[in-house]
Amino acid sequence: MNQKLSLSLTDILVTVVIALIFAVIYSLWDGVYTILQPFGLHLNELVYGMWFIAAIVAYLIIRKPGVALIAEFAAASGETIVLLQFDISLIIYGIVQGLVCEIVFMLFRYNNTKVYTAIIAGVVAAVSTLPLDWYYGYLGQVETWNLILMFSLRILSGALLAGYLGHQLYRGVKETGVLKYVGRRHEDSYES
């Protein structure tokens, strides 16, 4: 069991490369998020979920412990490099999101690739940003209706953009046939 689940060089390399592709997407996404901000009503929160996708896609592809955390960390730190800002807060957010995704996948014993696993991970990752934002952005002092709106949109976005879209990407990659080289050999669950 242990041997089967430990990360090989291939696993790590594939994870980090996937994460860095998403790092480039993340930094482009930063522009989308920023442009949507002044419209108010938290329309920008609808795109927030994209920032959890690296962990989910990497997990679905490799299905081993630690992958989600490494992927999210690599994507976040890659993003800081692309954006020319070593932003430690971004990396801390990334680690927290990767960690909670990791916990979700652990509960599924790292062998579930059904779409609901991905969606649960996306939702949990969205919820995990609440405590950090609460303290960093003084959210306690924002009007309550506004706060609820903000987090419902963010959770919705986590489910759709990170969970559903992440799973779609995984299925697309699976169809290309490259996945027979990487990840866990024994596949005891099939995609829905």
């Binding site: 291939t10 430690i88 990407l169 490259v178």
Partner: protein
Amino acid sequence: MFDSIRLYETFINRVNPLSKILMATLLFVTVLLIHNPNTLLYFLLFNLILLIILSGIKPQYILALLGAIFISGILSSTYMILYGQGDTTLYRLGIIHISQESLIRGIHVAMRGVILSLFGALIIFTTRITDIFYALMIHLKLPPKYAYSFMAAIRMVPLIISEYMQLRQAKKVRAPLINKKYVTGFAAVKSTIITLLSQSIRRSYRLSIAMESKGFSNNKRSFYRETSFSRLDLYFFLLLLISLLISIYLSQHCFIFNTNDARSI
């Protein structure tokens, strides 16, 4: 990485990368613990000066970056400015309610982001990325397979970008022949990402096989570059500490914002 836009090197270039990361983490915690907008403002000015003087980057690039940092800082706090709680109304339009309290809080949150970005930019401009991984391996005993995976993957990013360009051109040429949804729109984005992902997986698989066949393992190894700690690390830390202390001192004596605490005004 930034050699072409660098004018001069400063002692920050020789500070150990790990110290820089540690200081950035400490800075994050410090900034979270500062609730006085005056302190934050003075500290921001110090960080701005540090970036301009110590990064050694050509001024026009610094200016462009500063513009981006300040705009995104202001935009990131619009939620607080427009919807924050407060009694002293400055402006009201429908659901938008700008009060003096929410304005100051919004600026406070924006300054937090800007300070972290300024310091982060200083670090990125003065650090070679490979040195971070060497430092992690040498001082923190990070297993080489993680560090070299990162370094190899970073090398692949330009390849991936050129692959993306190729893909885009190929689609342009074939645009009249293929279904329109694969040229523009969601399906196009999806198919592009899937192509890039599958190509990169194949490439990293090949690379890892090549590395392992040449004997790459987690055995004891020597390093091409050495990193070490020196007195410069201490100087850098003191520089930050002193500017923080001066900011706190100044904020007690010259007010700019008419408050001491952004939480309770």
